[in-house]
């Protein structure tokens, strides 16, 4: 077998499967870490809920993402804006070298 093919496949697999989840080793936990919460949510949704409770639970689920965005999203947004400011500054100083002198 072509060794380069094996290496590429190995890289692709390591990128796709996160550490500690999925894999060929049966001793490794194959459940995603959110499985328990998802199962319980499914069980609740499968219950004979009143229309009021069902409507509020559905609204809560669909609005959760917007109301409580993951912290990583905030960080990445912040870093993007910092990067953007940096690049803006670079562009400005490149255009107007006198700005550097002034600072």
């Amino acid at each position: 077998m072509d060794s380069s093919y094996c290496r590429e496949e190995s890289i692709a697999r390591s990128e796709f499967f996160t550490e500690g989840e999925y894999g060929d080793n049966p001793s490794v936990n194959t459940k995603p870490n959110y499985e328990d919460e998802l199962t319980e949510l499914k069980n609740i949704l499968n219950r004979d809920l009143t229309p009021n409770k069902r409507a509020i639970i559905e609204t809560l689920i669909y609005s959760w993402e917007t109301k409580f965005p993951p912290a990583s999203q905030n960080i990445s947004k912040q870093s993007i804006s910092v990067e953007k400011k940096k690049s803006e500054n670079t562009t400005l100083t490149a255009r107007y070298p006198s700005l550097n002198k002034a600072s």
Binding site: E37, L38, N52, A55, T59, L60, I61, P69
Partner: protein, 254 residues
């Protein structure tokens, strides 16, 4: 959407959102969901509070079909595009609420207070507005086919370009209401008190206007009045009666 399909789509959404990490604090979400599911009350306002939601701003576009919202204070609520099919809103306070593009077919809105409420472009087929108090309510471009407004009080309500086919305004009281360009085919105004109502450009064919009382109404410029039934009316001048007859209205005891 059936309950099964709705359930499928929410589970699919949760799987995708959990898998991609878009939903954080999964335990917190579960805690809130559990609290709502196991609450000893079914009161919509109490459940909303338990869920940490805001009744005024968090339900725009939501699915509230078949919900029980009787006597609920929904004043100033943003319910644009919300699905309220078969919801029971009777005796609710809807003052200044926004129901633009909402789906309210078969909803019960009897005895509501809907002052300065917007129902622009909403779908309100077979909805119940009996004994409702409506002041400066906006129904422009709404579909109100077969809606029931019996015994309602309507002041400066705007029905311009709305569809009111087979709707009923039995014994309703009107003041300064606009029906310009509205479809009033087979609509019933029987025994209604019409004061300062503007029918300019409205289609009134086959409408039931029997025993309706007219005062200061604009009936000129009607699109048509073919086979509209008039009988026992007060406040119609000879000139207006003649003009209506020319548009095809029938004046006789049925």
């Amino acid at each position: 959407m059936s309950r099964e399909r709705n359930l499928e789509s929410i589970v699919r959404y949760l799987e995708r959102a959990f898998n991609s990490g878009r939903i954080s604090s999964r335990q917190d979400l579960l805690r809130y969901v559990r609290a709502v599911a196991e609450a000893p009350t079914d009161n919509f306002v109490d459940l909303t509070r338990l869920a940490g939601l805001d009744i005024c701003s968090d339900f725009s576009g939501a699915n509230l079909s078949f919900t029980d919202l009787r006597h609920t204070d929904l004043s100033e609520a943003d319910l644009r595009g919300t699905n309220l099919i078969h919801a029971d809103l009777s005796n609710a306070n809807l003052n200044l609420a926004n129901f633009s593009l909402a789906k309210l077919s078969d909803a019960d809105l009897s005895n509501v207070y809907a002052n300065e409420t917007t129902f622009k472009n909403a779908r309100l087929l077979s909805s119940q507005f009996s004994s409702a108090q409506l002041i400066a309510t906006d129904f422009t471009d709404a579909d109100l086919s077969n809606a029931d407004f019996s015994y309602a009080s309507l002041v400066y309500v705007d029905f311009r370009h709305s569809v009111l086919e087979t709707a009923s305004f039995y014994e309703s009281v009107f003041n300064g209401v606009k029906f310009n360009g509205a479809n009033l085919r087979r609509t019933s105004f029987e025994c209604a008190n019409l004061d300062g109502v503007d029918f300019f450009g409205a289609r009134l064919s086959l409408a039931n206007m029997r025993r309706a009382h007219f005062h200061d109404c604009t009936m000129e410029g009607l699109w048509d009045a073919q086979e509209a039934q008039f009988y026992g009316n007060s406040g119609l001048s000879k000139e207006l009666t003649l003009a209506l007859k020319q548009k095809g209205a029938i004046f006789q005891k049925f």
